[in-house]
C-alpha cells in the first residue's frame, strides 16, 4: 500500500518498521512531526525531553540497555546535543541508535542556516541524506542496520524540503528488534582517558570500514545519461537537478559521510563536465577536489546561502529563465505576527512603553522584536536571553534597572534554568520575565515539563516554575496575569527597582490552545473614537484604521481587552 506522507511522518514510519522502542526529542522546526507521529504507535515509547542534549543522552542510555533508539532535532538542536554526540561516536551502540538532524536552509523558522554535514565529519559518524519521503522511510530502516553492523550512532540528515514535503511511501510491517542483552563493558562505555584512547582507534578503523561500504553501497549510485554534464548531489538538490536536467548523468549521494570518492572519481571520468550541486557549504566539492578529482562547477555557481531550486540551478547553469508576469506595484510585506489575543502582546507593550533594553529568546515571543512593539535587543539561541542579561548587567550595573530578559516556559526549562542559576549564584541584579503560555508554541503546541502532560498525553505533576526559580536562589519570584497590563507594568517597575535578582512569571495560556475559549469580540464606538491611535501601538492584527477611526475585525478579535484598557476615551466595548 502506498501512502502520501510528509518526510517526517515517513521517518516515523521507518522507526516503527525498524522495531525502534525508544524515542526522545525536543521540538524544533522542521523536525517536530517525526516525534509527534511516532508517538501515535503504541509499540514505541516516545517522549519530549527538556532539551536535545538530554534527549540524545537518554537515547544513548536506551541503546546501551539494548533497545533501538532515536532522537530528532533541528540543526541548532544538534549544537546543544554536540557533547554526547561526539563521545557516543567513541562508545558506539548496543541497540541501534539514529540521530535525525533537520536543517533549515533559507531559515523558514530558524535563527541561522548552519550545515549539519560538518557534524558528521567532526564527530566521525556516518550520515545518510534521504531525498524524498520514500527514502526517508527506507534510509531510516537501513540506518539501524548500519548502526548495529558498524557499532555507531548514525546521523540522518534532512532539510525543510524533505522533512516538510509529502510524497508516496510504500508501507511495510514492523520487524520487532527486541532488546539486545546488556553486558557490562566499561572499556567501551566508560570514556575515561585510558579507555577513550583505545576507542579512538576503533573510531578510525570504523571510518575506514564505512568508507569501503560507501564506495559500493546502493545508497550511492550513478544514473548515466547524456555524458556532456555530470552532476553530484544529494537530498533535495537531486530532485532539483533531475527536474532541470532529466537526461543528464547524475551521481546521487545517499550516504554522504564518508563520501564514496572512488566511485565519484570513476563517474567524473565518464562525463565531460562535473558539477557539484549542494545547498549551504561546499563540503562535497571540497572533499572531491581534495581527492584530486576535477570539478568544473560548484560553489562558484550556486553560492553558500539559502535554498536552491530548479530555477536557481537553471540560472546558474546559464539556461534562459522562464517568462513571467509581475504585478508592477509594491505588494505590502506580510511578516508573521503575534496572534490576536496572544498573551505575549501586553508584556511587550509594557517593555516597549518603559523603553527597556530586552534580551530575547527563541519562540513565538521573538515576534516582540517586530514593529510596532520593537521590544527586543537580542535573540541568539535557546536560553541566551537570561545568560546574556547576566553578562550585560555585570559590566553595566548602572543600567540593570532598565534591562530585562524574556524567555518562554519551554525555552526556560530547555536551557534558561542553568542561566538563571548563573544570575542567582553570581548575584547580578537582573530581572527575568518568564512568559508562561503553558505550551511550546512556535513549533505547533507540544507539551513540556511545566504543562502537566507528556507527549502521549499522560497527566503528570507539572514543574513549578516558581519553586524552581526559588530553589536556585532567586528570592524575589512573583507571577502576574499577562493580560493585566497594569499588574505587568507594576511588577516590572518594582522588580527593576529591587537590588537583587528577580523573576516575574507572566502567565496566561496560548490563545490557540483548544481549552482556551475566546472571549466575545470587542468593537469600537465610532463617535467616541478620537483617532489617538493608542490601540494601534499593540500591533494587533485585528485592529486597523479605516476612515480615520479604529475598526476591530470581529472574526479575528479574541476579546483579550488590551486595547480597551489602553483606550482613554472608553470607545472600545464588548459586542
Amino acid at each position: 500500500m502506498k501512502e502520501l506522507m510528509l518526510g517526517n511522518k515517513a521517518i516515523a514510519r521507518g522507526l516503527y518498521e525498524a522495531g525502534v522502542k525508544y524515542v526522545s526529542s525536543y521540538p524544533g522546526t522542521p523536525s517536530t512531526e517525526i516525534t509527534e507521529e511516532v508517538a501515535l504507535y503504541d509499540e514505541v515509547y516516545a517522549e519530549w525531553a527538556p532539551n536535545e542534549k538530554v534527549a540524545t543522552e537518554s537515547a544513548l542510555g536506551a541503546s546501551l540497555a539494548g533497545a533501538r533508539s532515536f532522537t530528532a532535532m533541528k540543526h541548532v538542536g544538534l549544537n546543544v546535543a554536540a557533547d554526547p554526540l561526539f563521545t557516543s561516536a567513541y562508545t558506539g551502540v548496543n541497540g541501534g541508535m539514529v540521530i535525525c538532524v533537520a536543517d533549515d536552509p533559507a531559515m523558514h523558522s530558524s535563527q541561522n542556516e548552519q550545515d549539519s554535514r560538518h557534524y558528521a565529519r567532526a564527530a566521525k559518524m556516518p550520515m545518510l541524506e534521504p531525498a524524498d519521503s520514500a527514502e526517508c522511510r527506507d534510509f531510516t530502516v537501513l540506518a539501524y542496520e548500519l548502526s548495529e553492523k558498524y557499532d555507531t550512532p548514525v546521523l540522518l540528515r534532512t532539510c525543510t524540503r524533505v522533512a516538510h514535503s509529502q510524497s508516496l511511501v510504500e508501507l511495510k510491517v514492523r520487524q520487532e528488534a527486541g532488546l539486545k542483552d546488556y553486558v557490562k563493558n566499561p572499556a567501551k562505555y566508560v570514556m575515561n582517558p585510558g579507555n577513550a584512547v583505545k576507542r579512538h582507534f576503533a573510531v578510525e578503523d570504523r571510518l575506514k570500514a564505512l568508507k569501503d561500504y560507501s564506495e559500493t553501497s546502493p545508497l550511492n549510485f550513478a544514473e548515466m545519461g547524456d555524458t556532456a554534464l555530470g552532476f553530484v548531489c544529494a537530498g533535495s538538490c537531486y530532485q532539483y537537478v533531475k527536474e532541470v536536467f532529466p537526461n543528464a548523468s547524475v551521481f546521487k549521494i545517499g550516504l554522504s559521510f564518508p563520501m564514496p570518492l572512488d566511485a565519484i572519481r570513476e563517474f567524473a571520468g565518464k562525463v565531460e563536465k562535473l558539477v557539484v550541486v549542494e545547498e549551504l557549504d561546499g563540503i562535497f566539492e571540497q572533499e572531491i577536489r581534495a581527492a584530486g578529482i576535477r570539478v568544473d562547477g560548484g560553489k562558484d555557481l550556486f553560492g553558500n546561502t539559502g535554498e536552491l531550486s530548479q530555477s536557481k540551478i537553471a540560472a546558474a547553469m546559464g539556461l534562459k529563465a522562464k517568462e513571467v508576469s509581475r504585478f508592477g506595484e509594491p505588494v505590502p510585506g506580510r511578516p508573521p505576527v503575534m496572534c490576536a489575543g496572544c498573551p505575549h502582546r501586553g508584556v511587550f507593550y509594557v517593555l516597549s512603553k518603559l523603553k527597556l533594553t530586552v534580551t530575547g529568546d527563541i519562540g513565538c515571543y521573538t515576534l516582540g522584536a517586530s514593529a510596532p512593539l520593537s521590544a527586543m535587543d537580542s535573540t541568539v539561541c535557546m536560553g541566551a536571553s537570561v545568560s546574556m542579561l547576566h553578562g550585560f548587567n555585570t559590566v553595566r550595573p548602572e543600567t540593570s534597572n532598565k534591562t530585562v530578559a524574556v524567555i518562554g516556559d519551554s525555552t526556560f526549562l530547555h536551557s534558561g534554568i542553568t542561566s538563571l542559576t548563573d544570575i542567582a549564584y553570581n548575584r547580578s541584579i537582573s530581572t527575568v520575565l518568564i512568559l508562561d503560555n503553558s505550551i511550546t508554541g512556535m513549533t505547533g503546541h507540544q507539551q513540556n515539563p511545566a504543562t502537566g502532560y507528556t507527549l502521549k498525553m499522560q497527566q503528570v505533576p507539572p514543574v513549578s516554575l516558581e519553586k524552581l526559580c526559588e530553589a536556585v536562589g532567586i528570592r524575589r519570584v512573583r507571577s502576574v496575569d499577562a493580560y493585566d497590563l497594569k499588574a505587568v507594568e507594576a511588577a516590572v517597575k518594582e522588580e527593576l527597582a529591587a537590588d537583587e535578582p528577580s523573576v516575574i512569571i507572566c502567565r496566561r495560556p496560548c490563545m490557540l490552545l483548544k481549552y482556551v475559549k475566546p472571549r466575545p469580540a470587542l468593537s469600537v464606538e465610532m463617535d467616541k473614537c478620537r483617532a489617538c491611535r493608542s490601540c494601534m501601538k499593540l500591533g494587533c492584527p485585528a485592529i486597523r484604521f479605516e476612515g480615520g477611526k479604529a475598526v476591530i475585525d470581529a472574526n479575528q478579535c479574541a476579546g483579550c481587552g488590551l486595547c480597551a484598557t489602553l483606550c482613554a476615551f472608553g470607545a472600545i466595548k464588548e459586542g
Binding site: 533531475k242 529563465a321 522562464k322 505590502p332
Partner: protein, 189 residues
C-alpha cells in the same frame, strides 16, 4: 507532463488542509504526487505557500518561477505577491477577501487598490468571494473548500465524487457536511 498548483494565503486560513486534500484526490487518481509545506514561524499570520505537483513522475516538490499552472490565492493581494510563479498561460483563482498585513495596519506600507482588477489585466483570473460562500455554507473557515471547489472545474479528469470522498476522509466528521456544501458552492460558480 507535470502539473503544478501553488496555494498561497495567510497563516491560519487553512492552506495546509487544502493542499493535502488536493494531494489526496490526485493520489487516488493514480498520479505521482508531491506536496511541499512550510511549518513554524510563518504560520503566525504570515504569508504562507504550499505546493502541489502531479504527473507521471514528479521530482522537485517546489513550484518555481513561471511554473504554476494554477495559483489558488486565499487572499486578494497574495496572488499578486506570487504572480511571477504563474505560467504565462496559467490561471489565478483568487478569493476577493482582503486581509491587511501588519505592515499596512501599522501604516508602514499601503494595500494596493483593487488588486483583483489589476491582476485581471495581467493574467487569466477567476475571482470569487469565497468568504461569502463559506459563510453561506455555515462557516468562514470553509474558505479553503470553496476555493478547491472552484479549482475542481479546471481539473476535468477528476469527478465530483472523488473530491467529496476526500473531504469525508480528511475533514473532521462534524465539519464534513459543511465542507461538502462549501465545495459544491465553489464548484457551481
Amino acid at each position: 507532463m507535470t502539473k503544478s498548483i501553488m496555494i498561497v494565503g495567510v497563516g491560519g486560513q487553512g492552506t495546509l488542509l487544502a493542499s493535502r486534500l488536493i494531494g489526496h484526490v490526485l493520489v487516488e487518481k493514480g498520479f505521482d504526487v508531491k506536496l511541499s509545506e512550510v511549518h513554524g514561524m510563518s504560520q503566525r499570520g504570515g504569508s504562507v505557500v504550499t505546493y502541489v505537483k502531479y504527473g507521471e513522475k514528479v521530482y522537485s516538490p517546489i513550484v518555481d518561477k513561471g511554473e504554476a499552472d494554477f495559483i489558488l490565492s486565499f487572499e486578494a493581494v497574495e496572488g499578486a505577491r506570487y504572480l511571477e510563479m504563474l505560467k504565462k498561460d496559467g490561471t489565478l483563482i483568487t478569493n476577493t477577501q482582503e486581509i491587511y498585513p501588519i505592515t499596512v495596519i501599522t501604516g508602514g506600507a499601503s494595500y494596493p487598490a483593487e488588486p483583483t482588477q489589476k491582476l485581471s489585466k495581467l493574467c487569466d483570473v477567476k475571482a470569487v468571494d469565497a468568504l461569502a460562500l463559506a459563510r453561506a455554507a455555515g462557516s468562514e473557515k470553509a474558505v479553503n473548500t470553496v476555493l478547491i471547489g472552484v479549482l475542481s472545474n479546471y481539473l476535468p479528469e477528476i469527478e465530483q465524487d472523488a473530491w467529496l470522498g476526500a473531504i469525508e476522509k480528511l475533514v473532521k466528521p462534524k465539519f464534513v457536511e459543511l465542507n461538502k456544501k462549501a465545495f459544491v458552492s465553489g464548484r457551481e460558480i
